[in-house]
Structure formats: C-alpha cells, structure tokens
C-alpha cells in the first residue's frame, strides 16, 4: 500500500459519508439532537463542580480551576468516545466488510472523527467559559492545537489496536471500560496535581505523570489557563528521560497498533 493512497479520492468520499451517517444516527429520535453532545459534558461538569469544587474545596486557591476541570472533562469525554467508538467500528460495520472490499482503517478513522467533531464543539464552550472566568489568552494557547493533535494520535492508535482485537476477543470492551474507569481516577482531572504532591508526595505525582494521558491533559490545561496555574510534567521530573517516556509510549502504541491492525485486517471479513 502506497502512502499516497491512504487518503485517495475514493477513500475521502467514503470517510465523509461514513462520518455523516454516524452523525445522523447518533441522535436519531431525540428532540435536542446534537445539542446533547454539548449538554452532556456540561451537565457532568455541573455535578462534579458542585461536589468536588464547591463542597470538597478541590482546587481551592488555584486560579481558573473550574475552567481546567471543564477542559479536563471535555478532553476525557473525547478520549473515551474516540477509543470506544473506534473499538466498536469494525464489528459495528461488519455488514459492509463482509460485502465490499475497502480500506478497513477508514472505518476506524470515521469512528474517531465524530468524537473529534464533538471535541471541537465542546472546546467552543470551554473558550466561552474562559472568557467569563477572565482567563488571560496567552501565547501558550497557540501550542494547544498540537497537544490536541497528540491526544488524538494516541486515541487513534489505541482505537486501531482495540478495534482489531475486539474482532477476535469480545471481552475487550468490558476490560476497556474498567480500565478507563481506573484511568479516570489516575488522571488529575477532578483533583489538581498540586493536591497529589501535597497529600501523597512527589513520588505519587511522578507515578501519575508517567501516563501519557495525564501528561498531555496537564499540558493542554496549562496551555489554556496558563503554565503558572498548572503543574506540568517538567516541574515534577528533573530527569529528561522521564519526560520523554510518555511520548515513547504514544509512539510505541501507534506503531504496534498499526502493525497489529495491518496483520489482522485481511481476516476481518471472515471473523467479524
């Protein structure tokens, strides 16, 4: 397969139609339709804000922690949506795969793209919040899209692996659900990383920041609310090797996922 073929005209047409179809089917029959994809993270945010920030005083003393919490939730929603939809993509489109030959990765990409569109809409809400909360728009904001790109690449890599594995082992979806639940609490979203340092010590914070998701989320939030208000990986590790580790994990996941997907994709039609 030539690289130039990956996004050939035919594939682009197909990707577009698959995304449009996903989009239309998702909120079929609901009155508010697409508004739900905005309302859901906002409602979740309202609950968590009241419980953790208002009553439990998480993030007290940290400026714009509410914005950081909202952004964290929005990014987390994106991560779970893209990996879950990506995972279900191949099996969900089994009817197509069994009847026509087309590049299978298109389906996985289409599954993650609708999550990406949701993220885009949600980010608009985050930016409106930023303005209300009086966040200074700094230069670091220019780096924010790159962080999003990294998060997306990581999700896509995971989606490729999960979707291929899910064809063979249907247990993966349950495992992944539990794994995500654990990862949510292991990622500084609800609580500020500063709190981990204060309560559990530097070691605990270092342990958390070995996860690529934690590193990227902290980085994204720092770029939005300002580096002075967020603890990022470089403040926790002095050894640059540890700083590089999450990126090595991301790269490794993408390469392994691509190899695994490529090796298995020719059997999708008969296994799905």
């Amino acid at each position: 397969m030539k690289l130039s073929n990956i996004m050939s005209r035919r594939n682009r047409i197909l990707l577009r139609e698959l995304v449009i179809t996903d989009f239309k089917l998702r909120y079929q029959g609901s009155v508010l339709g697409y508004v739900w994809s905005l309302l859901k993270p906002l409602m979740l945010f309202a609950i968590l804000f009241v419980v953790f920030v208002h009553f439990l005083r998480f993030g007290a003393g940290i400026p714009h922690f509410a914005v950081a919490l909202l952004l964290g939730l929005v990014l987390w929603t994106f991560f779970t949506e893209s990996t879950n939809q990506g995972m279900q993509a191949i099996v969900g489109r089994g009817d197509l795969i069994r009847k026509i030959n087309f590049p299978k990765y298109i389906i996985v990409i289409s599954g993650t793209i609708s999550a990406l569109i949701n993220l885009g809409l949600n980010l608009i809400v985050v930016f409106i919040f930023m303005m209300f909360d009086g966040v200074n728009f700094g230069w670091s904001l220019l780096l924010f899209p790159f962080t999003i790109l990294l998060i997306y690449s990581f999700s896509l890599g995971l989606a490729f692996f999960l979707s291929a594995a899910y064809v063979k082992y249907r247990d993966i979806s349950h495992l992944w659900e539990v794994f995500l639940q654990g990862l949510f609490y292991a990622t500084p979203i609800l609580y500020p990383l500063q709190m981990v340092i204060d309560v559990g010590g530097q070691m605990a914070a270092q342990l958390l920041m070995l996860s690529p998701i934690a590193v990227l989320f902290q980085q994204a939030r720092a770029q939005v609310v300002g580096y002075e208000n967020m603890v990022t990986a470089d403040q926790i590790f002095s050894n640059p090797l540890y700083l590089a580790l999450p990126y090595v994990i991301i790269g490794g996941v993408i390469v392994l996922a691509a190899v695994y997907f490529k090796k298995n994709q020719k059997y999708f039609a008969e296994r799905v």
Binding site: E17, T21, K168, R170
Partner: protein, 391 residues
Amino acid sequence: MVKQKEIAISVKDLHKSFKLPHEQHSGLKQAVVGVFNRNRKKGYEIQNVLRGLDFEIEKGDFFGIVGRNGSGKSTLLKTLAGIYSPDKGAVEVNGTLVPFIELGVGFNPELTGRENVFLNGALLGFSRDEMEAMYDDIVEFAELEKFMDQKLKNYSSGMQVRLAFSIAIRADADILVLDEVLAVGDEAFQRKCYSYFAQLKRENKTVILVTHSMDAVQQFCTKAALIDKGHELTVGTPLEIAQIYRELNSEQEVKAQKKKDEYENKYFKCNVKQSKDTKSLRFTTFIEPMSVLRKSDIVFTFAISKESGEIVYRFTSEDMTEQIDLTKSNKIELNIDNIFPDGSYAIHVAVKRKDRSKNYALFDNIHTFSLSKGVGYQFWRPEESYSISTY
C-alpha cells in the same frame, strides 16, 4: 487476424479455508484456556472451501459461475472481490472491480431513502456532487419519487430492492461481480435485471455472474464455469456447463457417460449416434427398456435444441403412423433436413405418458453437435414469393 485477448482476472492455484469454531471462540477465556491446555481437543475445524482453483477470465467475457449450494461459489466470488484474502495462490485483477454480493450494501433502515442513496453511492466510489447529478435519474428509475424523505425501514422490501438496483446500475467499473441478484424481486424486476445484463453485454464489460438460473447462463454468458466441492472447476461453453449442472442436480440416477452418448435410468437405457453427412442430419437412437412397463400409453420424443435451450425441432412417436412398442428394444432412425443455422445443438430424448403426467425418462443433452457450414452457404430456402416493380 488473431485478436490479442486481454486477461481481466487470472486465478492461480487459489486456496481458501476457514476455521470453524465448535463453540463461540471470540472470548478471552478460550484464548487463555488454550494457552494452558495445549493438548486439548482443537476447538475448531478447518474447512477447506477452495482447493487449488485455476482459471482466467478475459476482458469482455460474460462469465457465469454455477455450482450447487455449498460448493464454494460465494467464497470464490468474495476472494475475487478482495473481501477474503487467499491462503495460498493468487488472484490478479486488471481494472477496477465492483462487487454486488448483495444489493444495497450499507443501507441503514434508520436513514431516509435519500441519505441511503448517498451512502451507497459512496461505497461505489461516487462523490456527493456526482451522486447529486444522477440523483433524479436514480429516483425516477426506482419509481420512488414520493418516498425519498421517508426512512428506509418504512419501505417495502420490493421498494428497497428497486432503490438499490437503481444505484447499482450506475456503477462504473471494468469488472462487475454479481452474486445471485436475480434471486430477489418480482418478474418486472427480473426483466429490468435482464435488460441491464444486455446493456452490460453491449458495452462489452467483463461480468462475473453467479446464479442458479441456467436460462440466464445460456442467455447471457459467453463462458461459464461449474464449481464442485471447491476444487473441481470445469470451464466451458454455457451449454456444456448447463448440461453438467443439470446432471449434478438431477434426481434421476443418470449415469452420464458423455463420450458414449449413453444414458440410463431405472426404466430405460438410451444412446444416440449421429452419422456424418453434410446434407442431412442422421441420428440413430437405441432405446432399451430396463424393466417391464405394462403401460401402452407412452410416447417417445426426440428434440433438438439450440444452445440457448430453445427447441428447434421435435419428433414424437405420436407423429408416426406405426405404433412404437417400448416394452422391447427399439432402434429409431431419423433423417432430418439440415436447415439449421450454424451453432451448437443438443439432443434431448424423453419417454413420457401420453397425457404427460409422468416422465419415465428425461435424457437431456444426451448428444451434442455443432454445425458450421461457412458464410453464405445455404442448403435450404424457405418457400418464397416476391415481386419487384418500379414506380
């Protein structure tokens, strides 16, 4: 002048097998158990569906593939279409190929007819703009103008098929793979299908058609192949293939001995010999009873059909002045004026009850022959009258 034939599809030593699990094997548990329990009975069976197929399809061929259920037709088709990948061997396709394993691939019941048209079109490689341009024609052809904004789940199955077919015929590919599309739809739909086939033939497209309809094979195909048990593949003319297929399916225990032109069942044994003669066709039919039939009201028929199955000549014992006694062995000599155009022909011998309520023997294609007399050669002219005048 020998025209260089181009190969559209070449299949070399194609093998394909499937693992058939004895129980649901798509769980981690089985995989884990499998690791620790290596010497347990294998949890699956290997089914060798295709075992070493070799053939070629030339550009412009209308290639029919027939075979009984479970013979591997669909697997072959899906392998040709690239849906399955071969275990061994190779499939080489020159040109763009569009498969129709099913009409309306990707149709979603929750989407409207209109949305489905665009989705299905995208699977055929058409962009939104291209689909927009042919949308009205598609809807008009499907006769569904009033229903396009309704969800597909509210369509009748006939309406869905019509819509799918209207999109399918837009497919612009060098090679089309059609799997039993004829099996669905009513007579009007089948007529549409047939006229589409005729159009494909005029346009000289390469078509691979899988079907159970020998009529379709004989009417449209230029070549045909019969696949049996996944490895016995016979390529031949549509007539030959239709003949073998009928034999395969025949419930009579007909022992077909093609070379000897001899057939038998529990009532009769028959063979037909043809003596070479240019002016006339001479056939000698030997028919011998295998068991005693106490019936006297039986008829012997001898028919010649064209390759397409159309009967061009029929002789029955009812036409004869003398009675035929089929309780004894008979030798029937026929001498027929050779008034037939060039082509391939087949002979069918039958023994039936007079009221046609029972067939004692149906020996289809008991003998085949072909005629070639050359261009402009005419043995026989029909009675004619003409007048020419100037005005």
